[in-house]
Symmetry: C2
Subunit: 389 residues, 2 copies
Amino acid sequence: MENFNWYNPTRIIFGRGCHREAGIWTAKYSRKVLLVYGGKSLKATGTYDAVTKSLKDAGVAYTELSGIRPNPRLNPVYEGIEICKREAIDFVLAVGGGSVIDTGKAIALGVCYNGDVWDLYGKGVKPEKKLHMGVVLTIPAAGSESSDGSVITREEGLLKRSCCSDLLFPDFAILNPELCYTLPKEQIRAGGADILAHVMERYFAPNSNNDLTDRLCEGAMKTLMKNLPVVLEDVTNYDAWAEVMWTGNVAHSGLLGKGRMDDWASHNIEHELSALYDIPHGTGLAVIFPAWMKYVYREHSWRFVQFGQRVFGIKTEGKTTDEICWEAIEDLEDFYHRIGLPASLRELGIDESNFDRMAAKATGNDGYTLGSFKKLTKNDVKEIYGLAL
Amino acid sequence: MENFNWYNPTRIIFGRGCHREAGIWTAKYSRKVLLVYGGKSLKATGTYDAVTKSLKDAGVAYTELSGIRPNPRLNPVYEGIEICKREAIDFVLAVGGGSVIDTGKAIALGVCYNGDVWDLYGKGVKPEKKLHMGVVLTIPAAGSESSDGSVITREEGLLKRSCCSDLLFPDFAILNPELCYTLPKEQIRAGGADILAHVMERYFAPNSNNDLTDRLCEGAMKTLMKNLPVVLEDVTNYDAWAEVMWTGNVAHSGLLGKGRMDDWASHNIEHELSALYDIPHGTGLAVIFPAWMKYVYREHSWRFVQFGQRVFGIKTEGKTTDEICWEAIEDLEDFYHRIGLPASLRELGIDESNFDRMAAKATGNDGYTLGSFKKLTKNDVKEIYGLAL
């Protein structure tokens, strides 16, 4: 097992009705906050009314920044920073999914940074301070509600970049599975694929000697694969949603990667897709991950064998290692297809015309490699896009 | 799934050599600390020298409180509080296992409490403030290094009582598996049984609909059962120790009980044993837990079936539910015996003479019940002591 630090101070408030406590939790930090959210759906579902009522009841004043879209952009971040500075706001409450939360994190960083907040994303400058912030999660997917990361896309050049820091853990995150009842199926599928990918990016490590982390990952994957099809069939199934939402949180809290190297090649390869074509990140991952697997599995095939045996219950007797690995990858593809996710880039209307450009961007144009399971060069990444076609 | 809060802000620093960072982490909080530890073994193993050198290197002055024993008592807590007040010390560094850490927590509470610190244990008064504190863990067992609890025994009447509060999470905990290489086998066994019990107290919940938490618990139990026998055979096996130590931490961090009711009857039943007979807590648990299981399994036998299938790989075909449950309990007993833990109270030199008194103390003398899997009265507890004879 490799040395590690584990730290995650976000308080999770989980369960039925708990979004109505948003005001109480917020008031512990501030009485004047920036309320960041997406748009119409929050109002249509009644979540907007419930959260703003709880803020008013707790004596918390709020200014709104709405209209945050998937694959969140930099300009709304600038706008939020400007509002906070102008109105002396010292707390950000993000109500939404990963894009809203990541925008909120960027604003909370930017208010405290003496310069262009993009420095902290595109240029690797380490942040030193951030406003306190809270989250009401409405889409289980990105795991940003208690992660140390934030991903923002700069409009110019469609550069999708991340910032990672212990500062980025929100102070609290409110997770009510009931809020998922109104999610469109497309978002449920993409969110589920993102959650699964967060586990797999950690699970497919080159390291052996990682019993507990392996077992925790396998438990998370089995739980997600059992419950995601249930909510797609029965969108008001509270218990199944609770499993998906809680798994989504644990998947990206950091715990599942302790004691070894994460990979993250597939995430980086996908980021170029969703930045350029504006497809849902999770949908892209469902196409990229099997392609990545086919390209890399021989590096540490024992891990794919373990994945197949423990997650899919594959019987290995009389099969070659190669056969077992392929069966595991096909079982994963079957899962994606069964829940209605696309099997190829072509299904998403994407052809090979930008493969070279995306591979270059993903690897930073300068021979930088991606991933740890197998270190991927620009050419490797191009091959993986090809396998995903 | 039941509503829950999840919060654990302790920073874990894990791995080879990391106890030498104790000074660096301590200096982030204070330059004048109380160093709490047990005794001779810390000096014999070199850990004392390494930690005190790291404090000096970081410019941290320390006053010592040593001699803390297993099943820690109240008087040393008073002594530590007195030292901190007298010397204006504002940080406690506990170097040891659960007893040392729990003593450190009690001191850190007591310095900030305007009254007798025992109020916070025996009388249920809620603490409102605590000194900052850090831990260097030397025995994986109690999980106190990142738990919200502390257990102290008052000498008068041998009352063993606990305090639970979000305040009790240490600021940091340093876990170096190498420090376990010198542990006596007796302590390894008892520590392992304590870790396993921390998972089982959470696993044996009356609640169903808890897929993720069940899976995480099962993964932790399988990891412990695989690696504990390895370190008993090969005490310098780093990777196996890393699994035991990390599992010991995750087992009691709170995560494994989310979304349902914990039980804790076996812990409370055992506390009376170790308070009265001064046996290691974990050793007592290895005797009490199977007895508890035999007494309660019929309440929610499906959970024992799941335990047997998933943790021990029991084949259920052609067997009655009763048979499967008993097989699971016997498999657990086999595990305890295989690693050299006692099978009965008699082996520990304990007879029935105090069963009535202990059962009365465990249930508070007034019809208070223990546990949630089955609510146990004083008479139930007496029966369980009887089954453990």
